[in-house]
Symmetry: none
Subunit: 240 residues, 2 copies
DNA sequence: CTAATCGAGTTGTATATACGTGTAAATGTA
DNA sequence: TACATTTACACGTATATACAACTCGATTAG
């Protein structure tokens, strides 16, 4: 089974083997693995080496150990993707609430300084701006003001911005968002935001700036988000 | 230095020692640690045990290794993953800001419904409450109101709550926080919060509820956090 | 019948040892 | 000098072993 000569560390081969058995359901969720001693014997390695291979899968969330009991295949639980971030809007849709998007602006214009800085382009270079107001159950909850480098998606404004999420559109062009940095603050609603979200000026707003990057690190979207403090709650799960 | 008898695993003591030396600048960013052999000798443990302690800090992003060269203290802003669990004060301290903590309350009391629910204990069961006001550069920035099940840490109130972070205290009892769920909202400051944070009533507050879990999923801390909207910014990095 | 104890099995921690592999500086050579 | 080689040292991988701590079912004492 394992290839001692090929230069690939044994614990990596073990990791790969076990991961395959999990993904192809040879090992099913909840199932108890053979004991470490037995697995070590089977793979023909020491127990320490076996544990090293297993530890990686535990870090990945594919397995979990119970002291004195055994090692098990993890349930396909949501904890798998640690850095998951769910917005009130997403969950609202999943809970069947009526979600609507109103496009306030869809235009091409020169980038201002801050936008250019975040998108790592030159000031004045063309960007696409997509400004949307998002409703839940008929009430405005969130204002998005998104900027995308024009050169990346010159056809973007032809898309159905009302019904499709920007990231899905990006994917239809073959690029995949990989990383998002979000900065969160509490602010007061200014006159424009207050009017759009139908609250009074000074109303608490969960303000968010978001920069989205591709695999290669290229910034692809920078967005200002203004969320009604009482209708929008952000949940973040952090893992150590 | 290390305490072999006290029941706390050696690699955890090593981890804690090194982490402290990093946070209190005994070890500075970029600095090369002594070799594993030397550190093992110094701690009086085997190299494998030492490596186990170091590996955790590497996973946390506090250290990095260079094969054939050495182990180094990570540079603080070189893309430290903010999806990792690090306390806000820790980061502020690492950026050289003056940080202070004022303990407003430290008491044992019966859990209210919401707290009990979050900590998965019975309503009325004893909890420890630690209410602290945190200052950065002399200004109050954050109010924490933390609740910990009394049965988990009956000696907690004997600890130095002013200077030690709760999570470090937890670790000194041999348990390690693993996961935190944070819920964020924007709110207005009420009278008490406004007075403590020295702002006007109605001032925007980044309100955060946080539940912290151990490896095994046991809730260990539930905290209400009130952060000055203009002085506290939360950065979240998401990876796909 | 109940509760305490025991024991087998499993993971957790720790040691001592050996050799592989990568890095960088010292050394040797043309 | 310029380049290749050697060498020391560091981390990387792997083994064999031992005992601790935990879980749970079986056994035993009351």
């Amino acid at each position: 089974m394992l290839n001692k000569s090929e230069g690939i560390p044994l614990y990596i081969q073990i990791r790969r083997t076990l991961r395959e058995e999990i993904t192809n359901k040879t090992l099913v969720p909840g199932q108890k693995l053979p004991s470490e001693d037995e697995l070590a014997l089977r793979f023909g390695v020491s127990r320490m080496t076996l544990r090293q291979g297993i530890s990686d899968l535990i870090d990945e969330g594919l397995l979990y150990r119970r002291h004195g009991v055994g090692t098990f295949v993890a349930l396909p639980h949501l904890d798998r993707d640690h850095t998951r971030l769910t917005s009130y809007l997403e969950s609202a849709r999943q809970e069947g609430l009526e979600v609507a998007v109103q496009v306030l602006a869809a235009e091409v214009l020169p980038a201002k300084r801050k936008v250019a800085l975040e998108l790592k382009i030159e000031e004045g270079e063309l960007v696409i701006r997509v400004k949307t107001l998002r409703f839940i159950a008929g009430e405005p909850v969130t204002l998005h003001d998104a900027y995308i480098p024009y050169k990346l998606f010159p056809q973007l404004l032809q898309e159905d911005l009302k019904n499709k999420h920007l990231w899905d559109i990006f994917e239809s062009y073959g690029v995949r968002v990989k990383r998002a940095v979000q900065r969160l603050e509490a602010r007061e609603a200014d006159e424009e935001i207050a009017a759009l979200l139908r609250v009074d000026e000074g109303f608490p707003i969960l303000y968010k700036e978001r920069t989205v990057h591709l695999d290669n690190g290229t910034p692809v979207e920078f967005t200002y988000c203004y969320n009604r403090g009482d209708r929008y709650r952000l949940t973040v799960v952090l893992e150590r």
